[in-house]
């Protein structure tokens, strides 16, 4: 982290960048939040640790409109989102100075809490420099421990790899944390009977409070004006005004990001209700891979995605019914 701060200050000082987009400490030991740093003194709050899950690439849409370059800290998986935004002309490469930051897996505080660890005062072992396999958590009830991998975000268990896909320089090492199959959960659902599937999604989606956190954090859901906030579709504005929006929100959202979603997992990370929203996106990814050929959005900057391309011999939609 110190190396990152030092380099950021240097680039600010020599005028290469006008601001730094990183994370600052939150009011709790585990909730750092995205922030801009423009002056040397701002950096006292700068943090980069294993709770910095937030994908900063989406912030670059706004930052691209600002005067001067923005130094943006991107983890390996965030660079996929940045590439996708580049493909869609939403961010300006020339306005970004990308520092690829090392990542050894990000933590999910909910997973720690689920283990019965409450009243957290501080957590050690979450620093990037540590190679700790165990988190030591100081709580008002005394010291507790938790295995790092047990506290990792779901997305880190299916890590896309430690390689940054786009960067100007890299600071810090990354680690591949993959220890699970990406589509295992999707396959588990696919194997269910229609009744079980329906029951599963009903249970999960019934929790939704339509807070829009998933939409607001998603780098693919970056429309200037969301279709759900538009009068053009008669699905207007307020959550409770239109039953159509109320009922179909998640499936339409999944459809809008299909072929563009990099599977960054931010939707599930920020959902206050703990809905595994990534399971929608990952289903589409799996289908696209199987039906139209392997495709990882954001791997490179491309003109056309799988849903804006076709081949003459594509499978017919009837395949869904046929394969049962």
């Amino acid at each position: 982290m110190q190396e990152l701060i030092a380099r950021a200050k240097e680039l600010l000082a020599d005028g290469t960048v006008a601001r730094v987009l990183g994370w600052k400490a939150g009011d709790l030991p585990y909730n750092p939040e995205p922030a801009y740093f423009e002056k040397e003194e701002d950096f006292k709050d700068f943090v980069y640790n294993s709770f910095c899950g937030a994908n900063l690439s989406k912030f670059m849409i706004e930052a691209s409109k600002l005067e001067g370059k923005t130094l943006v800290c991107l983890k390996p998986c965030d660079t996929y989102s940045f590439n996708q935004l580049l493909s869609e002309h939403r961010v300006d490469r020339d306005k970004a100075y990308i520092v690829g930051v090392g990542c050894k897996g990000k933590l999910d505080i909910e997973k720690i809490k689920k283990q019965g660890i409450k009243g957290i005062k501080s957590i050690s072992g979450a620093e990037i420099s540590d190679e700790a396999d165990t988190l030591t958590i100081d709580t008002i009830y005394g010291e507790k421990t938790c295995a790092f991998s047990d506290a990792m975000l779901e997305r880190c268990h299916v890590c896309k790899g430690k390689e940054h896909k786009i960067y100007d320089e890299i600071i810090g090492e990354s680690k591949e944390t993959k220890d699970a199959e990406r589509f295992a959960e999707v396959e588990r659902i696919e194997a269910m009977s229609p009744e079980e599937k329906f029951a599963f999604f009903r249970k999960e989606l019934s929790k939704c409070i339509r807070c829009n956190a998933c939409r607001n954090v998603c780098p693919a859901c970056s429309c200037r004006k969301c279709v759900f906030d538009s009068t053009k579709f008669d699905s207007s504005q307020k959550a409770n005004v239109d039953s159509f929006e109320e009922k179909m929100f998640h499936i339409i959202r999944a459809f809008h990001v299909a072929g563009r979603c990099t599977d960054c997992g931010e939707c599930s990370r920020v959902c206050p209700q703990g809905i595994p929203l990534h399971l929608f996106n990952r289903k589409f990814i799996k289908e696209i891979d199987e039906l139209y050929g392997e495709y990882q959005a954001g791997e490179t900057v491309v003109e056309k995605g799988p849903l804006t391309s076709y081949t003459f011999d594509d499978v017919e939609p009837g395949i869904v019914a046929e394969r049962g």
Binding site: V186, S193, F198, F201, S235, F244, I251, Y310, F312, P317
Partner: protein, 147 residues
Amino acid sequence: MSIEANEEFKPKIVAFCCNWCSYAGADLAGSSRLAYPADVKIIRVPCSCRVNPMFILRAFEKGADGVILCGCHPGDCHYSTGNFYARRRMTMLFSMLDYMGVENGRTRVEWVSAAEGVKFSTTMNEFVQKIHSLGKNVRLGDLRCRN
């Protein structure tokens, strides 16, 4: 469910037809007097690629029991490529509905040319029959799955 109730079931079926092939195919079915159930109501769109999955979901939300999309045969699209995009989009939509445990027989895509009045009528007869066998649509009314 009693047999009587079954007989009462009058499914609501929306058929999106592209203007150039399928709508003309439906016209041909009409001028050839090839009957299919009155439950089917056709909406004319310029091309199958004009059909937004939202339209289909909206139909279900408003009480449709089945939605079918008809377009030109792949390769014959009036706009040359529209139905190719429609094909991928619908494959994705159907796959998602299936994934969520919604009967996949309630949606269908069929390519019907302007010359295929017989196919149009046969397809509609089959589809209505299928919807009858599935009964009233309950699940698709609310994909947020609240009840």
